[in-house]
Amino acid sequence: MKLATQISLGLFIAISIDLVDSYVNYSLTKKVNTNTDFLTTSEAIIRTSSNLNRSIIDMQNGLRGFLLSGNQRFLVRYESGLKTIPELLKQEKGLIISSALQTARLDSIKAIHNVWLTFANQIIDAKKKAIADPRLNNNYRKLFEEQTNLNTGKNYNEEITALFASFDQYEYDVRAKRRKALTDSIAATDRFSLFFSLLLIVAGSGLSIYLVRKITQRIDSMVKLAEDISAGEFPTVTDDKKDELTSLSLSLNLMSQKLSRNITELERKNDELDQFAYVVSHDLKAPIRGISNAVQWIKEDLPEEMSPSMKKYLGIIPERLKRMADLIDGLLAYARIGRGKYPREIVNVADLIREIADLVVPEGYQLTMKNLPVLSTEKILLEQVFGNLLSNAVKYTPQQGAQIEVSCSEHRNFYEFAVSDNGIGIEQEYHKKIFEMFQTLREKHDEESTGIGLAIVKKIIEGNEGTVRVVSSAGKGTRFLFTWPKN
């Protein structure tokens, strides 16, 4: 699966959890709202039923007061009840419309009240007539006593009180249930919110960790590959994930394989060159040795048979053979520079110079050394540089009063060495040329000088990221300066 797909999938899962959370919260809140609405309605029902009850009681009291005192003032309450009660009944009916049981109770209350109203209207009417015409008082008396005997008022009262009680009780019961439901639903909302928040955190961080680890593992293996490559090994990474990083892995693998092939090829070529060098040094020098020996033998065995000019010409041969052998050695030395790995060692430069001087600086040359350091480096290379520069100095400095000096100045990352002599010097125009192969400023037959020494010096120093230069003019000695890395 592609990484982008995996990341999208992770985000999708997180967002889905969030959406589910929102939905559940929404529905739970709706439930809470429903319950709250219900409670509000229920309170209104109870309030209305209290008003209704009170109005009915007021009517009864009004009726009773009027009947006992005959005072019409008491009828005000009765009459206001006549107006308000139908209104309240209608209101209450609207509020309890969803409960059939309560509607039935309310209908009973209404029915009983209507029966009572009929009775009350009759007796009020009779009482009013009796007040207007005392003769009719008997009619009223009769009706009043009849009703009193029948206990109409009391029965009616008890019935309606009982109905109101059960009506209210029902409402209270339902409310208690609803209130519990409300508390429960609020608690449920809290619980769900907490649960989903936690789920979101766990799922989100889990997915993040999974993806990050997956990507870093892959990147780590590629980093390791790159490190191996720089350490000279050429492994490959296995990667069958088929995502964006796979193409990077494949490119790295290709690079590794290509490098490996190229380096193998390079090693093969180096081996070939070594073989070539062996052939050159062995097979090319063997015939030279033969010629040299033959000439030697002629001179030893036949001294009397040779004319002076024969001797003279024969004398040229060993010199030229020696030069040819030196050229072959020089070429081989030049070709070998930079191909081998040389061991690093701690080198005391002053000791090194003394060792070299024993071999190349003859008696009579005054050699001085100044500020020479001790450093860790590839000794063989430094030895070759100094060897060539010192023998060069000797070669171009007449023995009479000859002075050669090796000195050093220290810089931040490198040393700068100087090899100076008071010899014949080099003219400005040759300063560049001397570092090229086979450039020797002497006459060819003067002394063995292959012209390879300074080319080797330059190649070694530049291979070590250093520079070499010469300060000299004809007759004023020569000073070679070169830099050498510190580490």
Binding site: S281, H282, K285, A286, I288, R289, G290, S292, N293, A294, Q296, W297, E300, P318, L321, K322, A325
Partner: protein, 144 residues
């Protein structure tokens, strides 16, 4: 009187040995063969010649030779009950590990690498004649 068998294909080296022997003035008899086959013929004898008698005190053996090289010759020599005890000294220009290893396994008394250097002074041991003289003197002195 020491008897030396020189197995060497290079005429130059043969002359060098002859001259060196003359110079160090040790009484000797030098037999030369130009390759391994010829050396075996001389040691064992063939239709024209009888086997060598007495056998040489030392064999100076080159490695790179036509027909039969030094290593093959040495191997056959060491398998021959009559010749296996003969003292052999390698004289070659080859310093190759393989040659050293094979000759070491078959048993030789010395392994000398001929110098390729050039000096005008023949007395020095790193010149061709100087080298041969120096070693021949040692070899002959140690033959008792």
């Amino acid at each position: 009187m020491k008897k030396i068998l020189l197995v060497e294909d290079d005429e130059l080296d043969v002359i060098s040995v002859q001259r060196s022997l003359r110079k160090i003035e040790v009484e000797h008899e030098l037999v030369t063969a130009y390759n391994g086959v010829e050396a075996l013929d001389k040691l064992r004898g063939n239709q024209r010649n009888p086997p060598m008698n007495p056998l040489p005190d030392v064999i100076l053996l080159d490695i790179n030779m036509p027909k039969m090289n030094g290593l093959q010759f040495l191997s056959i020599l060491r398998d021959d009950p009559l010749l296996k005890h003969l003292k052999v000294i390698i004289m070659t220009t080859s310093g190759e590990e393989h040659d050293r290893a094979v000759t070491g396994r078959l048993g030789v008394s010395g392994y000398l690498i001929k110098p390729l250097n050039f000096t005008n002074n023949d007395k020095r041991p790193d010149s061709m004649d100087g080298f041969v003289q120096f070693h021949l003197r040692n070899i002959l002195a140690n033959l008792e």
